[in-house]
């Protein structure tokens, strides 16, 4: 957003104001107050000594468009172990839920002076959502004291009550989660990630309430912790999936997601309300495909047009979080979220005569599939087009990925494809690491202490998508410098000239960059010998995982495949007595292969690094670290050119 320089107001010149300021003059010697942070996961100063959470399904009073509600009551007791402090307490709510009451007690007394604030909550990568936050600072008066927060919430529709997570931002000593399910409410509670936690479950029937009461008790639950490159929370933390099936309400049966058919029907009802205008869309489709022959080429043209011209901008406002915006609106606005982009792609294809469908999908960030129908199982929409009885999946939010290439986040994931009143349940095809190859070929010779020669680099699939994303975020007048900095890894001695590159707007071809290189001071000259470190990039040498603190598996963004070939002419009058022995590492999830070979006066250096599976389990860390150490050691080995 453009901004303009402003600075502080300068002076006020009115007598009264000066007099008032004099009378009220506060003699503060400090300019900035102390900040307050949420303690880190390993902080033992403040703990949750006890937390009770109760969820009860109730029939709403009077006429209500949401006949069944979920009443949530929580009571959290915080305990100060070592020294007094204040912690931020936050509670989220949205369009489908309300916070009805917040009570705060500090050291046994009601804290009337603490006023919670209720504000819009800005979610990263979402332009506007209905997420709101209630927050306040909670003091812990001194060591050994407790502060307590009681919150009452209402969730207005059981469809939106999908999960109950047990972990908290602080360590929990005791927690009890109770779900009161009257017999008129039919649901399934699916226990997730319970294996490594001691969680006790009790189910009793309360005849007075005619309700089943589920009680889960857990002790000594570690705090949630954010680790980079870790699996999504639904893979890690113990929680319950709440699968609301149906309710026998006052006015008869209300079906939620009893089966996947019901969830599909709910989506389909929303889709039926979109109101796409085929005339407008067809006109644009014709423009896009004009002069293009062949179905496949037309599909590519439409897909690429949406990728190119529609900005990703997410609105998650109430039902708009589930209902795609009309194709003509997205077309007009030139922005949309995944649903709007999928719907526009589909409509452009349908009006061009293709069999295109909307698809719902849960990315690999979430641990569920459609065997447990509920709104938590998917978080994304894409489009599928059928060509010669084969579905191709088009995700226009992946701005720079090619046709028939799939991002890691959707590969192998179950996908719910619309099919009239029924649906198809398929899987997005997996893609091997070769989809994402990064290739570098160097033909070099030695001039003085420099390496000079020609370089060609290529990027495919997700590695290309990643780089193009970066390239297009740079202003074009700064692009040559930015690319030079990227390719030279900000090394001023790695001098790049005659830089050329392939079409940066064509995501269906490989991205190719070529340049002439002068790598100054690449060689060290000692006595009669020249010493050279052959690998300039040394990819992955810094990938050692700090196992001491790491709790979760490591997740790579995508499957990596690096190929590097160098042909170096051995300078006349020199020989290489020996080259380092090859490095061969071949594990289930990754492999490293690097070799040297001398062919006549050419030294060949070939490297292939592969991440076959993106999830590296914690159990493999030790082996991984040893292999990275080997890789690092190999990289550091010098080639010695000795005078003949």
């Amino acid at each position: 957003m453009p901004s303009y320089p402003h600075y502080q107001p300068m002076r006020n010149l009115i007598v009264c104001t000066l007099l008032i300021s004099q009378l009220n003059f506060p003699l503060t010697l400090l300019a900035n107050p102390f900040p307050s942070h949420l303690p880190s996961w390993d902080d033992s100063n403040i703990v949750i000594k006890n937390k009770t959470e109760q969820y009860e399904f109730v029939l709403a009073r009077g006429t209500n468009e949401d006949p069944v509600q979920v009443k949530e009551q929580s009571k959290t007791t915080y305990y100060c172990n070592s020294f007094r402090t204040a912690i931020p307490v936050v509670e989220f709510y949205d369009d489908k839920s309300t916070i009805d009451e917040v009570k705060i007690y500090v050291d046994g007394s009601k804290a009337k002076d603490i006023k919670p604030k209720y504000e819009y909550y800005s979610v990263e990568n979402i332009f506007y959502s209905d997420a709101h936050v209630c927050y306040f600072q909670l003091p812990l008066e001194k060591k050994g004291t407790e502060s307590e927060v009681q919150i009452e919430k209402t969730i207005n529709d059981p469809r939106y009550f999908t999960t109950i997570f047990f972990s908290e931002a602080l360590k929990v000593e005791n927690k009890q989660v109770t779900i009161v399910v009257p017999r008129w409410m039919h649901l399934e509670l699916k226990e997730m990630n319970f294996a490594t936690f001691k969680i006790q479950k009790q189910l009793v029937y309360d005849s007075r309430r005619d309700a089943d009461i589920y009680t889960y008790t857990i002790r000594q639950l570690p705090a949630r912790r954010n680790e980079a490159q870790s699996p999504g929370p639904s893979y890690i933390y113990p929680h319950l999936m709440v699968l609301s099936k149906y309710a026998d309400g006052r006015d008869g049966r209300i079906t939620y997601f009893n089966k996947l058919d019901d969830q599909y029907a709910w989506y389909k009802r929303l889709v039926a309300q979109i109101g796409n205008d085929a005339t407008v869309i067809k006109g644009r489709a014709l423009e896009i495909t004009r002069g293009i022959n062949g179905d496949m080429e037309k599909v590519k043209a439409i897909y690429n047009w949406v990728q190119d011209n529609i900005r990703y901008l997410a609105f998650e406002d109430g039902i708009a979080g589930f209902k795609p915006e009309s194709a003509q609106d997205v077309l007009k606005k030139k922005y949309g979220d995944c649903k709007g982009m999928a719907n526009l792609t589909k409509e452009l294809l349908v009006t061009s005569g293709f069999d295109a469908r909307l698809c719902w999908i849960g990315t690999n960030h979430i641990a569920y599939d459609y065997s447990t129908p509920c709104l938590a199982v998917d978080n994304h929409m894409i489009c599928a087009v059928k060509l010669k009885d084969q579905f191709y999946f088009l995700d226009a939010t992946e701005t720079y990925i090619g046709f028939n290439q799939y991002a890691e986040r959707i590969q192998g994931r179950q996908v719910l494809i619309e099919n009239g009143n029924t649906y198809l349940l398929e899987k997005i095809p997996g893609r091997p690491y070769t989809q994402n190859t990064e290739y570098e070929k160097r033909i070099l010779k030695i001039e003085g202490a420099s390496l000079v020669g020609k370089i060609e680099q290529k990027w495919l699939g997700e590695s290309k998508e990643w780089l193009l994303e970066g390239i297009h975020s740079v202003k074009k007048d700064k692009l040559p410098d930015a690319l030079t900095n990227y390719l030279s890894e900000n090394n001023a001695r790695y001098i790049i000239n005659n830089l050329t590159y392939s079409d940066l707007n064509n995501r269906n071809n490989d991205l190719t960059i070529k340049y002439d290189l002068q790598y100054k001071d690449a060689l060290s000259d000692f006595g009669n010998d020249l010493y050279l470190e052959m690998d300039f990039r040394k990819e992955m040498e810094e990938y050692e995982i700090k196992t001491k603190d790491r709790q979760q598996d490591w997740v790579f963004g995508y499957k990596h495949h690096l190929i590097h070939e160098t042909e170096l002419t051995i300078p006349a009058g020199y020989k290489i007595a020996e080259t380092p022995p090859p490095l061969k590492v071949d594990q289930q999830d990754y492999s490293f292969s690097i070799t040297y070979k001398i062919l006549g006066d050419i030294l060949l250096y070939n490297k292939e690094l592969i991440i076959k599976n993106t999830r590296l389990p914690k159990a493999a860390f030790e082996k991984w670290n040893k292999d990275i150490q080997q890789l690092k050691k190999f990289y550091s080995e010098q080639i010695i050119f000795t005078k003949k």
Binding site: I14, F25, L30, F83, K143, L313, K334, S524, Q638
Partner: protein, 745 residues
Amino acid sequence: MKFTRYLALIAFTCCFLSAANAQNDNDYKKRAAEVRQEVWGWNIPAFKNRTVPEAFRSESGIILARHHEIKAASRNNEGTAHKNVYYSNTVRELVKINDKATLEEYSEFGFQKFKKLNSVFSKKANSITILGVRIYKADGSIKEVNADDAVLIKDEKNDKQGKLAITDLQVGDMIDYFIREEEEKDYSHPIDPELFLFGDDKPILHYSIHCEFGKKYALEYRAMNGAPEFKVKKDSQEDNILDAEMENIPSLPVSLWMSAYKQIPILRLNLIVGYKGMFAGAINSRNPGEVYRNQSTDEIIDDIRVEMQTSVTGMYYKGVPLYYKEVKSLLKQYNKKNDDIPKDSLPYYVYYALRYLTFYRVGPKDPIIVGTDRNYQTPNNHNFLFLLNLILREFDIPCDIVLATSLYGPDSKQVMSRNDFEFMLKTQEGKPVFMSAEGVFTNCNYISSEYEGQRVPVIYIKSIRMMTGRLITENSEVDLPKTKALQNKHLEILKVGFGNDLQQMNIDRKTVLTGHMRSGEQKSLLLFEDYYDEERKALGVKESFMEEFADSRRNRSLSDEYKAAFAKAREESKQQFVNEIKDQFDNEPKDLKLFRVDNMGLRHTNPDFIYTTQFAIDGWIKKAGNNYIFEIGKLIGSQLELKPDQRNRKVDVYMPFPRTYEYTIEVDIPAGYKVEGLDKLVQNKSNGSGSFVATAQQTGNTIHIKVSKIYNNTIEPVSHWPKLVEIIDAANDYLAQKILLKKGA
């Protein structure tokens, strides 16, 4: 002509009447429609020329036209004797979008749609912001974005914040947008000063400014660094009309070592409600309708004197008695144990005492903050120094109030506001002692780098007439001392040995930071527990707060709590040292065996910040057959490297301060190896702007290395840039140097 102007004024007044009530959504929409009609109707040729000159085709974005319009009028506030201010500020731009990066920049707008202003005299003090956006498509069509579609991310009665996503915006389009801010408020609200910056990260082909200010307003302006002057005229109503314009403004130069206030064309404008009442002289107001161009520094100093009068007298009643008593009490405790402080040392004691009372002293009701967060506190500079000045007066130590100007702001001859000055104190008698209020560790007689070396005004409060609050003052000037490169030193003393496999090194390191080099590391590495205790003892305070708490039945448990908090802070400080080593060497230490602060540098008498670290590091030794290549240059740590676009510099250089980096390194040669290539470690680049000098020699089994990199000056003319590049490149060359550890000594 007269008739047109009359109509314009009517329209102007009406628009403000509507704006004042626009918190209602319908009123807002109505007002927004009127404003859009008005702004799109502006007859400014630059907005009609939508051809991008060939020379700019490769730019990411081009601002073809920017127009800034400010209007202010006043009228009586109904039912009161006070006047209301009506103010509007509009910026309109026409921008050609040539790539996705610029598209992204203009694809969303956030704005304060409505805000109720705090007001003493007016119930309807409001501010609204109105947007208008049009897109010129490549095919010549015009699309108007419905800016009323903005979503509200804050929707409270008195505070509404909006966010607008721009529809149908594509690469190749031009966006023509404006942001209009309208305010109605009473006179007690100052109007923000304006700063027109003739530069952006894109070229600007035409930049125009138009202002219309009612005759009740006084204006001050100053054009700096080649900015255009305002053309000022009066209309028939005696209102002031100001216009300025500039064409073909290139995109801003490099970001490294710049001082925008001294290098970029800037036009500054202050709009002040003129005042002619009975107190006009006392409050130093400006005359209504008068235009003041390039005011003298004396006038701004006079404003400061008047403001000082208010705060000083207020402080006399509130702060001085309390703090003077406390300082005296501390001094009494000190003098009991020590010889009485000589008078020339008294300013130092008083300074450190007030610093202690502000930052160090702990009361039972204070929050427990003992980690490095505490070190980043800053004082209310104005209050701290004025209070200090008055306390020093009580001790019979007269001080001048120094009005220092920043290296990064206008110099003292170009100031336009008291905010352009930073306060300091200077003792009048004997060798001057300067006092500034920067932070927790600022020494007495320390002048921050951005203020040093300048000739600046001073005010001396000769007397204070308590009955009337009047200050009798004298003005003069002073040259602020300037440090030399050797006074601002980062010294690294390293002893390097090898582990068993030669691939890992053990480093025993002592770091000495002097002068301006200290404050960053002091903040990140010092612990409250340590500096509290050292300073308490230095001031002669008998009992620590821990002891006081332990002795008090009421607060006894607090002592235990502090102990726990201290222990936690100490544990966390290890990571701070790890981070510091990583920053210095661009390499994470493997094993931090020792980290210790040797001298905290809390006082002018012992000012250096000194710490010791012992750690292992790897990655700099490479196997070469039976031998090893040792990237020994990396021991000097990461060095500033110039990016390609920074090399070809066309503007003068404003560095932070003259400085020295010095490295004294001893490397134990591993047994069984001999060293080759020491000659590569000898360099000697020296020019008027600085130097890079390195020597290396072997004595027995030890390599002795000395390296120094010096920047002699703060400001260098652009003609000296090649000299600085020579120094910077030499350091980077050194960083890449290697030696050979050859088997078989």
